[in-house]
Subunit: 347 residues, 4 copies
């Protein structure tokens, strides 16, 4: 870390600051510029000390050299993390596709969709039992029953399942029924939820907050990792910008950027990332080309009658199947593998 | 609500859409343009129907005419809401100032600061017992003990108290000790927390999410109001933009804009809104000039040694007292009153 | 267009507004809601009338149904525009790659790079003679001489050339030397420059302003098209967001979105779009997967010694050649063709 | 400036980098951390060297300690710049109000408005002869004739005049007729225009680009100052954010922030900054409370019939006069003076 003093800070005051730092057991290098003095701090600095220094009189700026997260960083853990669940490995060579409806609605709905998801070649069934909704008068999900319906559909069709958990109290029950727990974009900094997921051992898909930086996303992952759960994957799902044609701006550069900063798998969500059905196919391909370890895609057998407004971004089953066929050809060009059934068989 | 069809949608399909709407008991007006047909829907539309329509084939756009929130809207409740707590009225003629440290640290710290806050003329003591921190290795607050320390300091010095509640389980205990419960910017869409606060009857200060629109803020307030708690005040605390000189961009136009859209009181937070001590005074004055019902300002008797990094934005006690003196002169120019003790007495 | 009145506007006032509209020769449909009246306007509305209505008393909102641009819209011109320059067709089946340095520096520099660009399989040489720089003390380009150097290097190596034109006076001379004229991100709304390019017949690559919406980009293109120059291609080059790890946020959803809204070719700029060399390769592939008609990529034979700071995002020649090899395999998977020389021959 | 190497850069490579820097005549201080080496550079660094270093192999980051602009900085010029034009001083104790229509439309329109502007107590008449419009089919201003009309109205009523200049060729003629030349938000980085204004000696009001940082605004001002024209004032006019209720987000913290960074006067534009008439009054007061040296406000005697769409944000004459009355009372509370005629006399 580097501490930069204000212009023309007197020598005595610089000495005081240096002594304060050294009293904390940190070695320093002082470098006198024309106007300002630069104090280099050597070794790992506690966040509290950094914060302290930032607010001291005559300190103009504090520049972090090392990152505020550790367990999530590739410096600390150079090899890719591969999360194995049953036969599926997330973060390895195989591309992983998660498909399904925005919300679980009924036994027959989720069963039908699970069959289509499996037939298309995906490995994971997605679906929400609890739905975070911006207004109190919107459909809020079917609740615990939905977890049961989804677990049964997954088991029947040989699919893993992923579902969103919105609050610490529901972590245990969601973990009982689902294979992967999803943290939604509005909960990325729900620190109590993150802590609870750290105590759990189920794999977690952590969605980037719609206005979170890479650094904040990695710090949120650090909460879960620091709690003892190493099975974290990250998800780019679009950020809020001034553009309103798309619901969000899918930031695909996050994929190769995060690959450098962290060892955790990166999943892309082109459905929420664009909010428009016709953009899901090109942005799915672009995500894989950019290096994503997998995709989470909304698909609905009857989107015109889905119970949430997200039908507008759900693929029809035949679009979903065609997309997976295309991805199976694209994957090898970026060092991935992805097997799909013969399309004739799907039909 | 208005439904706009895609260009060149055949007449038969338009009829189908109209029949679908009328089957739901909604009256329509159809207006045929050159390319597109416009279907006006008359009366209050359930959000689920709106969502449904938005995703139907041949529907290009759905334009809401009425707002998605109701209890929070000024249309529904034209008079200003005034929240009375003891002798203090928030949202009325009197300007309300909330001051204090970012975090409660010790009995002596909060007692000393409470004395200074009172002496300066403020009505409410702020302080965090639980702190939301972006990284897991930062100071997380002293917890429940902090609530007790703050309640005692408030009682001793004749101040109301406000503290942040981060999770539904802590609503009851925070409500036991504090006069106002604060929802932080990262929790504005923590819907379980909002629902729990709706069941409670304590006044709530709801901070705008750092990337939330006015509409989303008002929908979040609607969760609390719809739960039965009418004592909600809103807080502008800065939004995330591309500018990095200030920590956030304090959006003061939110104040007169929200005053038109809603009847709820609006508080401004120039400390988090700027993240820089030297900007707090001008932005406090600007907030009052823009029509704020009150301010929440960080003040610390020893910011160089505060336990969180927010010392950098905390006023020194004499700056805080001088600001309140100035505000007492400014308030009458915008139709407010604010009484302060004689400054000589403060010293 | 739809005009929505304020709540409870009296019937007489609604009549006045309707009469005002009909006096302009526009047919109306009036639809009385519970609170507000909706007035549908039929036919093409002059922008000035729309602006007028928006600011009238008792008008709450005006919703455009048709777009403000016409010549640029796919509704008006359903087939893709293909711009042919010599043997190269931009916007057709063939993927078009533009490569070269940020700035032309010397005869030998641009000649060497042109040779490498050609050998790798690209069709167009890029390079700036005039450089827009945020501060007055930075290198501003070598000027007209640079145009000559680049034209010669292009001719010698059998490459088309593209260069940025910053001001109306330089349009003629740039058009004399270069095959494609580029409008930079800071000039997207330099309307005098756009008008001058409309009078010219040279193909124009119009870069999206770093904070421009799709709609604004298409309106800027409309200036050039309305002036009589149909040879316009658009370029996504990243937008400004709160994320600071990348220089800009490359908005790849712009590619398929613009493909729907317009018939003009779309080029992607992963170099400026990310500002980091290591992200150029994955984002180039992602751009092609998303449906781009071409790429414009910075490449420098000696980026450590380039005269502008953009070396940090320039590919080394071997990276550039390897990328084009990969793209030749990726292109057919998205319905494109792209031929590259045998890599052994490049070396 | 500080150069930070990548983790584990070998000692020999660090030496090479240091030698490269010292060869440029810059003294260094090297400080070896645990993983990375920090090289402090002492003295003023040319921007080109900084850019060079940023892109060198094994350089992870370059941190600027000193600013990239010089003439605009308060470090270089500690006293406030006061621009005197006739009897009016901008940047001094007196608050300066510029009022008038978006566009000059006719002799009678500008004459009538000038009379109202003067009567209300403002010192400067604003009005556009050339209008930058996002689409080619909108009203583009009346041109040079408008300059003449405005100059005459200004002279007749004893007001200074300010008008926008959009392109370098028009600088001379605008300078002949107007007292202050305005650079619009879309032209803040039109570097040819800035250079031309540097050669001119007329005072310039430089509007912040709607997505420009403070640093970029000050670098744009530096272009004009470096050209030899010291009479530059800056204007905050709102930035583009995700919020759509207001046309822009007026960033009032820019006012006290820029006051610290620079000695140039700061004007606020609440009309474009909000895009809504009813927000102009509170945001005008907030601007003055935040420390603005002046305001530029749209006022129109017949906004329903203004020729541009900006009528929606124009004050009516009586609103404008009432606002100035209020500002005359507010000004002394923030150390300013502002004299207005007796309101009875205005009527």
């Amino acid at each position: 870390m580097i501490v930069i003093t204000s212009a023309h800070t007197p020598e005595d005051r610089v000495k005081e600051i240096v002594q304060f730092i050294e009293k904390e057991g940190i070695q320093t290098h002082v470098s006198q510029g024309n106007d300002r003095t630069i104090i280099g701090l050597i070794g790992r600095i506690e966040p509290q000390l950094a914060e302290h220094l930032r607010q001291m009189k005559d300190v103009e700026n504090v520049v972090k050299i090392t990152k505020s997260y550790k367990l999530a960083s590739r410096d600390f853990h150079p090899e890719d993390t591969v999360i194995q669940i049953g036969d599926v490995k997330i973060g390895g060579e195989e591309l992983v596709i998660m498909g399904g409806p925005c919300a679980v609605e009924s036994v027959s709905q989720i069963d039908e969709i699970a069959g289509l998801v499996k037939a298309a070649g995906a490995q994971v069934l997605r679906g929400g039992a609890f739905k975070p909704r911006t207004g109190p008068y919107s459909f809020q999900g079917v609740g615990v029953e939905g977890l049961v319906m989804m677990a049964e559909a997954g088991k029947k069709h040989g699919l893993l399942t992923i579902t969103e958990v919105m609050t610490p109290e529901y972590v245990d029950i969601c973990a009982e029924y689902a294979d992967i727990l999803q943290v939604g974009t509005r909960n990325m900094q729900n620190f109590d939820l993150l802590r609870k997921l750290g105590e759990c051992r189920k794999p977690v898909l952590l969605k980037r907050g719609f206005s979170a930086t890479y650094d904040e996303l990695l710090n949120a992952a650090e909460y879960i990792l620091a709690g003892g759960n190493p099975n974290v994957m990250l998800c780019e799902r679009g950020i809020r910008t001034f553009e309103t044609y798309t619901r969000n701006t899918l930031d695909l550069a996050a994929i190769p950027s995060l690959k450098q900063l962290t060892h955790l798998p990166i999943i892309s969500d082109p459905s929420h990332g664009t909010g428009r059905r016709e953009l899901v196919e090109p942005m799915s391909k672009a995500s894989v080309a950019a290096g994503a370890d997998g995709l989470i895609v909304e698909m609905h057998s009857d989107p015109d009658n889905s119970m949430t407004g997200d039908g507008v971004q759900s693929l029809f089953p035949d679009q979903f199947a065609a997309l997976l066929q295309d991805l199976s050809k694209l994957a090898p060009l970026v060092g991935r593998s992805f097997q799909v059934p013969d399309l004739a068989a799907v039909k």
